[in-house]
């Protein structure tokens, strides 16, 4: 995905970025203070919110020319919290990730079933398959949400503060999974976080929302906690 001169927002510009290329196999961490517009930024990248100006292209094709169905095969999006759905089992939930590919009535072919099972395996949550989503813990549900997006077989996976509601060990677990998925499945993982330590450790590229203006840019070089704090957060 190539992004050039992008201005995002609703009526006024919230954030702008000069250039950003998202490549497969890499993990990108979007870091910035609360309320700066990180969620809006990601939703603009996947075409859910129209951007104010600029260009987003995928393999040369402009994002705005893509249909809803095409986008659903390219982008997966995970929210910070999945509260569960009443009367829905984990397997049913993950199977919904196959919606862009299934035919009439949403029936799953053998291949679809296999992909769903594989998603459970990858996230190491096979034991949860028959449980009701409401009966799971927050951490388990978050793993489930990622499994669903995996079943969606998208090149890009966007996650909005995926570890915000998780405890320490689960945070690590999720981010380790994401790193593994990026490498093994050659996907592009893009997530936002305000947990600086985790973001530092579990990402290849740091995309920062600068504290002094609306700019978003990649920060390279040797970074540590303090430097990140300085760049993105007010004193």
């Amino acid at each position: 995905m190539k992004i050039k001169n992008l201005y995002i927002g609703y009526t006024k510009t919230l954030l702008e970025i000069e250039e950003l290329n998202l490549e497969a196999g890499k993990v990108y961490a979007l870091i910035g203070a609360n309320g700066r517009g990180k969620t809006t930024f990601m939703k603009s990248l996947i075409g859910q919110i129209p951007s104010l100006s600029g260009q987003i292209t995928l393999d040369g094709k402009d994002l705005t020319t893509l249909l809803s169905l095409d986008k659903s095969k390219l982008f997966g999006f995970v929210n910070s919290r999945f509260a569960g759905v009443s009367y829905m089992r984990a397997k049913e939930y993950v199977a919904l990730g196959r919606s862009p590919y299934t035919k009439a009535f949403g029936r799953l072919s053998a291949k679809d079933e296999a992909i769903v099972d594989q998603s459970f395996e990858t996230m190491e949550i096979e034991h949860l398959a028959n449980k009701f989503t409401e009966d799971l813990s927050d951490g388990e549900r978050q793993m489930l949400a990622i499994a669903k997006v995996l079943a969606q077989e998208t090149e890009y996976i966007f996650l909005d503060e995926p570890t915000a509601f998780l405890d320490y060990s689960n945070k690590k677990k999720v981010l380790q999974m994401l790193t593994k998925i990026a490498k093994d499945e050659n996907k592009c993982i893009f997530y936002s976080s305000h947990d600086l330590e985790m973001a530092l450790e579990y990402s290849d590229v740091k995309v920062c929302v600068l504290k002094e203006n609306n700019q978003v840019s990649i920060i390279s070089g040797k970074l540590d906690l303090n430097s990140l704090l300085n760049i993105c957060f007010q004193d």
Binding site: Q48, S68, L69, K71, S72, K73, F75, G76, F77, V85, S86, Y87, M88, R89, K91, E92, Y93, L96, G97, S99, P100, T102, A104, F105, G106, R107, N130, F132, Q152
Partner: protein
């Protein structure tokens, strides 16, 4: 998965109960009629034989109408609950039913000439549902979130109810009596020669609902999630509203408003079948709704000799405890 096998078994069970329901319903009538008479009424109809008339003009249309009404209202209730992500939604929540009531009130209780003689009650109700359906449809294009549509539907419903109250207040005794009876709801008004027309429209609405099972499943996760899965919200919303308006408008036109079924049956089905998959929920609501209302009508028939109960009273009296029972049972697990 065990749950899938179990659900298939339960669906089959529901199918098996249908003919039993039919037999019980027929037998519950006050005049006992033998099964051979039943057969004769179809094979060699004698219009002077009162038993034949009862079979063909009273019992049969009543049973068919009950099934169609129960199915249609339950399926529409299910779609409304999915569309708005709200288990408290029912088929009347968009206010389309109030359109029928309003037009029936106008045609019965005001002296407005456009609505006299050429337009029967049925036509008035259908026109009312159609107009209100159009209003809701055009609004649905303009709103972004489903919640706004819900609120507008509720306001539309309240507004027309208020208008109806005013009309009632100003009307004379006889017309008021006719309207009051209509609004109590009854499965007995429909005539056998109206059944083909009703069935055709019913089938059309039902088939349409079945065709959107996949998007409905996506809607369960919420509108934003559904978009991410590639569903066109506007298009599906439009289809849901069209089919709901058609089916509920149809039932209201021939039976008057029937309460509770559209709300209770989809919830009961979800509790019993423990799934959100509309491939199970839709047929289960269809058959379950029919069985439920036939059961209520059996009670109406059995008690008719002592206490005359309108169908609306029975659906709520039976339905509410059932729902409470299942919820409590589930909470205990």
């Amino acid at each position: 998965m065990i749950s899938q096998k179990r659900n298939r078994f339960l669906l089959l069970l529901l199918l098996v109960i249908m003919p039993i329901a039919f037999i019980s319903h027929f037998a519950a009538g006050e005049i006992s009629i033998s099964w051979s008479t039943f057969g004769d009424a179809w094979i060699s109809f004698d219009s002077s034989n009162p038993e034949h008339i009862i079979v063909r003009e009273f019992r049969f249309p009543r049973f068919i109408m009950a099934c169609l009404a129960g199915s249609a209202l339950s399926v529409c209730g299910l779609m409304m609950q999915t569309l708005f992500n709200n288990p408290l939604a029912g088929p009347y929540i968009l206010g389309i039913n109030s359109g029928s009531s309003l037009f029936v009130a106008i045609s019965l209780m005001t002296g407005l000439s456009i609505f006299q003689s050429d337009f029967g009650l049925v036509s008035s109700a259908l026109i009312g549902a159609f107009i209100f359906g159009l209003i809701i449809l055009s609004i649905s294009f303009k709103v972004k979130q489903g919640v706004s549509l819900l609120l507008i539907g509720l306001m539309l419903g309240s507004f027309s109810s208020a208008l109806v109250s005013v009309i009632q207040y100003l009307s004379e005794a006889n017309s008021l009596k006719m309207f009051t009876m209509w609004i109590m709801g009854s499965l007995q008004l429909v005539e056998s020669d109206q059944l083909p027309f009703i069935s055709v429209l019913f089938l059309f609405g039902m088939l349409g609902s079945f065709l959107i099972i996949k998007p409905l499943n996506a809607f369960v996760l919420g509108e934003t999630e559904a978009v991410l899965l590639g569903i066109s919200i506007r298009k599906i919303r439009l289809l849901i509203i069209v089919f709901t308006a058609l089916l509920t408008g149809l039932i209201t036109a021939y039976c008057g408003p029937i309460a509770f079924i559209g709300l209770a049956v989809p919830n009961l089905v979800k509790i019993i079948f423990k799934t959100q998959d509309h491939r199970i929920l839709l047929p289960a609501s269809l058959i379950g709704g029919a069985i439920f209302i036939v059961l209520c009508d059996i009670i109406v028939q059995l008690t008719a000799q002592w206490i005359p109960l309108p169908i609306n009273a029975v659906t709520s009296l039976i339905g509410a405890p059932m729902v409470i029972y299942f919820i409590v049972k589930r909470l205990a697990q």
